[in-house]
């Protein structure tokens, strides 16, 4: 066997090994997190962990309820802003915009997708938080439940967190939705237009219907990103322990923030480390399910991201 063949075989094995490692990494991370969460899972019942409302590690109380609820609140409200704005923008870019406008806006959105979360967080602290504090003062007088702060609102709140998250996930939702809409065959549009439908009717009845699974996938990917976002939310969401928000102007304490803020002291209290790693595992499991769903949809649609 000559040296060239030998090199070829060795290199083949090596690149295969790196591909396999990269494919297994997700399982390695899950296994390691699980192995460290076992001790709290065996010490406490699941209902105690997920429905317990008090978090007092020094007393051995590990109730995740407020953090899970906090994450769901802040993400859900972010989606309320991001879904309509993101999807409508993507439809405009894909269906109405001129090529010249598209070629300016799409690269811009791509570029902005790369801005680090901490920068969005700083924007939130400087602009969104004071704005929310002002809004809270006005809407507090109206007395609508959910829009009246439980106590004086500093602006560091559920609302501020979700606005920052929404801005962060605009680029994700728009770029994936755009790709999906562009992959709808033009025959679909032509058939509808030739029957005398207006452009909007065509979009509403033909294009969106065809692209719906893909648009859903774009939303799910945006959702997963928001769900796991740590730093940007942490900077603006207020973070109050053992407090369930009663309005959008109250502070929230999402799950990722719990991990970020407590890892330093977690070795000193029994089960504390295990509880925090369980938090990471929960986060990973939820996001894994969502991303997997979205990716399978996109693969089935045969889109560019499949």
């Amino acid at each position: 066997m000559n040296i060239r063949k030998l090199k070829d075989i060795i290199a083949g094995r090596l690149i295969l090994a790196s591909a396999i490692f990269s494919g297994l990494l997700v399982f390695i991370i899950a296994a390691v997190l699980y192995s460290r969460s076992i001790s709290i899972l065996s010490a406490k019942s699941l209902s105690e962990l997920f429905l317990g409302i008090t978090w007092l590690p020094s007393q051995g109380e590990f109730g995740f309820y407020q953090f899970i609820l906090g994450t769901i609140y802040v993400t859900a409200l972010a989606m309320v802003f991001a879904i309509p704005l993101g999807t409508l923008s993507a439809i405009y870019l894909a269906e109405y915009a001129h090529e010249s406008m598209r070629s300016k806006i799409l690269p811009l959105i791509d570029m902005l997708a790369g801005i680090p979360p901490v920068v969005y967080g700083m924007f939130g602290v400087l602009i969104i938080v004071p704005l929310v504090a002002d809004i809270a003062r006005v809407s507090g007088k109206l007395g609508i439940p959910g829009l009246t702060a439980g106590s004086y609102s500093t602006g560091f709140s559920l609302l501020a967190g979700s606005v920052v998250l929404a801005i962060m996930i605009f680029p994700i939702i728009i770029s994936i939705s755009y790709e999906v809409l562009r992959s709808v065959p033009s025959e679909v549009r032509e058939a509808s237009l030739s029957l005398g439908a207006t452009r909007w009717q065509t979009i509403k009845h033909a294009v969106i219907r065809t692209a719906l699974p893909g648009l859903a996938a774009a939303v799910i990917l945006g959702f997963s990103r928001a769900f796991g976002e740590t730093i940007a939310v942490l900077m603006v969401a207020g973070i109050a322990l053992n407090n369930i928000p009663s309005s959008v102007f109250d502070a929230v304490y999402p799950l990722p923030a719990l991990i970020a803020l407590n890892y330093g002291e977690m070795m000193s209290i029994p089960l504390y480390d295990s509880a925090l790693l369980l938090a990471a595992l929960i986060l990973m499991a939820i996001i894994l399910i969502f991303t997997l769903t979205a990716r399978l949809i996109l693969i089935r649609m045969g889109g560019a991201h499949g």
Binding site: R4, L88, S89, G121, F123, V125, W200, I231, A260, T291
Partner: protein, 283 residues
């Protein structure tokens, strides 16, 4: 509703949405520049922070954060490239691309892409604990490598897939082995895309805060070795912004602007690279 009126209404609604989206993204950039530009002085960029930020030390700049971030960014980019390029090449049809395994590896990378950086941080933290490594540059570089891997591999995979099969076959016909074909034809053809993927990974790595919060921590000093803790730009923004003294907050503004400039420069560079190298590519 009259259908032409409906058309007008929704068109207006869409334009409004786009204006809000683009406007808010513009506003983010404007605010960062507006806050950061006035405090960008030479001493801000060439001095380390002095006196401990938590003690109210107001002297000095953000050199420690810039240096730390460059170490972290380049170190992790290099390591991630070492794993990602071979992995992406293995996903070619000539190797395992046709198998079910390639499908599952791609899927698992897509999932990995979505996993939040705080989870990587927690994972890195326990692994480091297991090996007895304390919060250090090394730990951060490894965690950021893992964070960048799925991004780099999937981005490289997309461009490597586009290399025409005929081109590879031409190389095989001349007697080249798979390795020779891959190195001389595929990598060369896909080079602009590979570089773009690397820059994409670098941008993600240098801007991430949650993962290095747990694995590198933060310090005012410059790192002397891989096992030292280090400062970084994202964590400088995160920690210093909440400090009471305005001088210290200014360092946060400066750090955010430097970070923004780095990320935008990366994006522009990769756009330029792909356009420039595209000329030499056979399609």
């Amino acid at each position: 509703m009259d259908r032409l009126l409906e058309e007008k209404f929704f068109k207006l609604l869409m334009l409004l949405s786009l204006a809000i989206v683009v406007g808010s993204l513009f506003m983010v950039v404007t605010v960062i520049v507006w806050k950061g530009a006035p405090v960008m002085t030479i001493s801000m960029l060439t001095q380390t922070s002095k006196g401990g930020y938590y003690l109210g030390g107001t002297e000095g700049g953000i050199l420690n954060a810039i240096v730390g971030s460059l170490y972290l960014g380049f170190g992790s980019m290099f390591l991630a490239l070492m794993i990602s390029l071979p992995a992406a090449l293995a996903l070619q049809k000539d190797y395992i691309g046709r198998t079910k395994a390639a499908y599952y590896i791609r899927l698992s990378l897509d999932i990995l892409w979505g996993i939040p950086s705080i989870v990587y941080g927690a994972f890195g933290f326990i692994v480091m604990l297991y090996f007895g490594v304390k919060a250090s540059l090394l730990g951060g570089i490894i965690v950021l490598t893992l964070l960048q891997m799925p991004i780099m591999i999937r981005a490289m995979d997309e461009v490597i897939r586009l290399v025409p099969q005929e081109l590879k076959e031409a190389s095989y016909t001349l007697g080249a082995t798979k390795l020779e074909t891959t190195a001389a034809v595929v990598v060369r053809q896909a080079l602009p895309g590979i570089l773009t993927a690397v820059l994409l990974g670098f941008g993600r790595g240098i801007g991430d805060a949650a993962s290095i919060l747990l694995t590198v921590n933060y310090t005012d000093n410059l790192p002397g070795s891989l096992l030292d803790s280090a400062a970084s730009l994202p964590l400088a923004v995160f920690f210093l912004l909440s400090m009471p003294s305005p001088e210290v907050q200014q360092r946060a503004y400066a750090s955010a602007l430097v970070l923004l400039i780095i990320v935008l420069a990366l994006s522009i560079t990769s756009r330029y690279l792909s356009r420039r190298f595209m000329k030499n590519i056979i399609r």
